[in-house]
Symmetry: C2
Subunit: 476 residues, 2 copies
């Protein structure tokens, strides 16, 4: 018989790339396995997984919000309400009872679109945030934002000649999903020189080129706050983008998973695209994504999130429902995580003080760390770094010596991958090279998260490595 080989599988799958868990991450796992042996011979003691925004990961250990975990523990084993009532605040017990009344057991499949009560909580959250009505029937709960993005991209693409506008640098979920569904990524570049801003002119250029190439643009992806850039859009730009979608009949995919990670909310606030579209009374179709993985929740492993559909006709909503039903339903503990995020304790309730303290601490720590890290990185020779006003990352630009670029080319690597591999081998710090996010030719970057236990250990090691690297390749 013929065996199963790489040549016999779907060629679209071969084209998929996903760097966040790619070459660097795999090598980091190999190092981690080595470190468990006494004679590992590595010049560091542990791996710092700075390649992925995973706040609660071992070694980073951002504590979970107690409120969420208490509600979930009761949903897992409701008998605890009677067996250990003293262990739980009253508002936790009340919330768990309310959810249980509606859901029944979390071991049952729910409505494919998500538990109705939780969709109502989400709609209320959106209404309060934006000041415009939100319809629970237009909300789909998901297993993290990822499944929503992937479902909608697979629906919007009509192979072989249709595409979606993707910011560069981008979160690679977008290009990976496009490749999988034989859609074409139409790249538009963000501008590092102006705090990674989004330029209408750039997008118009990308559109013109796609028309020339006979590619039909279907949708525009905006990541706001940005990943990997941390940039925030101002409302003026958002309005211009909505007009552009009107002009070119584009669906807007608004990835707003970092809406609650704002380090300078006064100068760089967040406004949702839903609000802008409603205020402008625009008819453009919008799908906006949120997730429990980021913000102060950091509940990545739970896999929870949602998307809201704005200006989407019923026939398309029915189609989305059908596709959601093939996967049966999103994980119930993820759905409950969404409820805990959008409906936290209120002032005066028993859980409020602890919730407030925990969430404030996470916000403050992240903002401070981002600031310190950006300052220190900016002091390094050949490094420049926009001090991100949002999200969880920094995206420093590297101006590398010619001889390093030549050495990289000899090793068959892009210069930033070459740099990142050495960083990993020498310090145990795993970052994602700019190559993984797409980038302008000839520019080098890497993305690192601002989630780290001790800034000194982390940034100190980065600094030392960088200086040595620059020396090694002939620049001081």
């Amino acid at each position: 018989m013929r065996l199963l080989t790489i040549d016999s599988v779907n060629p679209a799958i071969l084209k998929v790339q996903y760097a966040v868990r790619g070459e660097l991450a795999i090598k980091a796992e190999e190092h981690r396995a080595k470190l468990t042996k006494d004679d590992h011979g590595l010049p560091f003691k542990r791996i710092i997984n700075s390649n992925i925004g995973n706040p609660q990961q071992k070694g980073l250990d951002q504590p979970p919000i107690t409120w969420t975990r208490q509600v979930c523990a009761l949903m897992e084993w409701p008998a605890l309400m009677d067996l250990a009532p003293q262990a739980f605040p009253k508002d936790v017990i009340a919330r768990a009872k309310e959810l249980q009344e509606d859901i029944g057991s979390i071991g049952a499949y729910s409505h494919s679109q998500g538990v109705p009560l939780i969709r109502k909580s989400v709609a209320n959250f959106i209404e309060e945030r934006d000041g415009y009505p939100s319809n629970p029937d237009h909300i789909f709960l998901t297993a993290g934002a990822s499944t929503g993005v992937s479902l909608l991209i697979s629906m919007l693409i009509t192979p072989p000649k249709s595409g979606i506008l993707i910011p560069i640098p981008q979160y690679p979920l977008y290009t990976a999903t496009l490749a999988q569904h034989s859609g074409i990524a139409i790249p538009y570049h963000l501008d590092e020189a102006s705090e990674w801003s989004t330029s209408l002119h750039e997008i118009e250029g990308a559109l013109a080129k796609s028309y020339e190439d006979g590619i039909e643009p279907k949708a525009l992806v905006i990541i706001n706050p940005g990943n990997p850039t941390g940039a925030l859009l101002d409302e003026n730009t958002q309005e211009e983008l909505v007009k552009l979608c009107e002009k070119h009949s584009l669906v807007l995919l608004a990835d707003e998973v970092y809406q609650n990670n704002l380090h300078k909310p006064d100068s760089h606030p967040f406004t949702s695209f839903k609000k802008i579209v409603r205020r402008m009374n625009s008819p453009i179709p919008v799908f906006s994504f949120h997730s429990i993985s980021k913000g102060v929740q950091g509940e990545c492993g739970r896999r929870g999130g949602y998307f809201e559909c704005t200006n989407i006709p019923d026939s398309i909503l029915a189609l989305i429902y059908k596709m959601a039903s093939v996967g049966i339903c999103p994980p119930l503990t993820g759905q409950i995580g969404v409820d805990c995020m959008v409906r936290p304790p209120k002032p005066g309730e028993e859980s409020y003080p602890l919730w407030k303290k925990e969430t404030d601490t996470i916000h403050e720590t992240l903002a401070l760390r981002t600031k310190i890290m950006a300052e220190r990185l900016n002091k390094l020779p050949g490094v420049s770094c926009v001090p991100s006003p949002g999200a969880l990352y920094l995206y420093p630009k590297l101006d590398l010596p010619e001889s390093a670029i030549e050495a990289a080319s000899k090793a068959g690597k892009s210069p930033d991958t070459f740099y990142a591999l050495q960083l990993l081998d020498e310090t145990g710090i795993c970052v994602v090279p700019g190559e993984g996010f797409g980038k302008k030719d000839g520019h080098n970057y890497y993305r690192l998260t601002c989630l780290c236990p001790g800034v000194e250990e982390y940034v100190g090691a980065l600094e030392q490595f960088h200086v040595n690297f620059m020396k090694k390749y002939g620049r001081v």
Copy 2:
């Protein structure tokens, strides 16, 4: 601007069909909403969702296994180990500690392939079950079996002219996923007359036809125990099927999610395809699926499962890993559910007696209910029903009066959909018509689950409806 319409989306998505949550299920939800009003005017008091194998669903209320829920509650909020140690058996605390040591927080993304420790538990479970080695690196944890099936189908299909052999009747996940990824379903019929057995001859016929039509067959799907049929394969047939895969270079997709739902284990035992393939020393590539949604766990809402890869080259394993990493990781509480399923308490451990009692009760109740229901259905005029030896369903065949078939045709429905819609409207019982599983022309069926609280209420209503239906359409 042009609006988003059904004509502008991916045509592959329009072709997807998924009846388990289709027309009937949607109508049942409408009835359910009506029932909350005093003047609902419906001739029944509640909806019985017999359309989906969802044991813990409200109204069915199969209790969760306490062991699983206790472990999960501690993983959600580890502080409970100190706050309420008396509430938890010692082996539960020990398991939670062990898992926590390895995983850290369940709020963190895990390894994309699943937590290494849990993959080891799965490998041990498989080794004990089959007597052949199992490699944790060849196991992928998933969000229910569904995501695994969907991932692998999307990989194996090379559009536009390749297909996968699907049993008819089938679980519609298969045709839905094939439609989504522009793969072709190559149907082969199971034989009702011989307890829904799988015939090599039928499959050879389907293969011959697909070659004629220029369709390349890539894989063979076997659901064992069957859904909707409940049939179990004997080892002899399994060996023949493996030889057939060898002969035609087919990948075997072995859906074994019901492996622990055996009602007559002496006459109808379960043997895994992995074991058969190893025993025969066959080189055929096998992916075998398991889930926590069925068996005695019934933890559907948790979304947990796994697939094991047998005879799969490293290059393909790497490809699967890449695709799994785009979705980042399966839900942690689903992964923990898998650990609890494959590594239950052992005799002598504190949780064992309760675990044993709970699981025995579920097995016995299901077997008894299946038997009684089949007997009573078989007594009805125009109904014949194989008494399923496995899974959670019965799949009665309907011999309907001509005038009912004509009335259905006038209403633009298949006769079994016509029957099922009236059943829903008159009794509140929601089943899935045979149409949803694919079927031979001119035959009518429906699938109902054997998960119900009171057999009398449920079967009594079915019987009465059926007799009235037959009278109404002129047969007594």
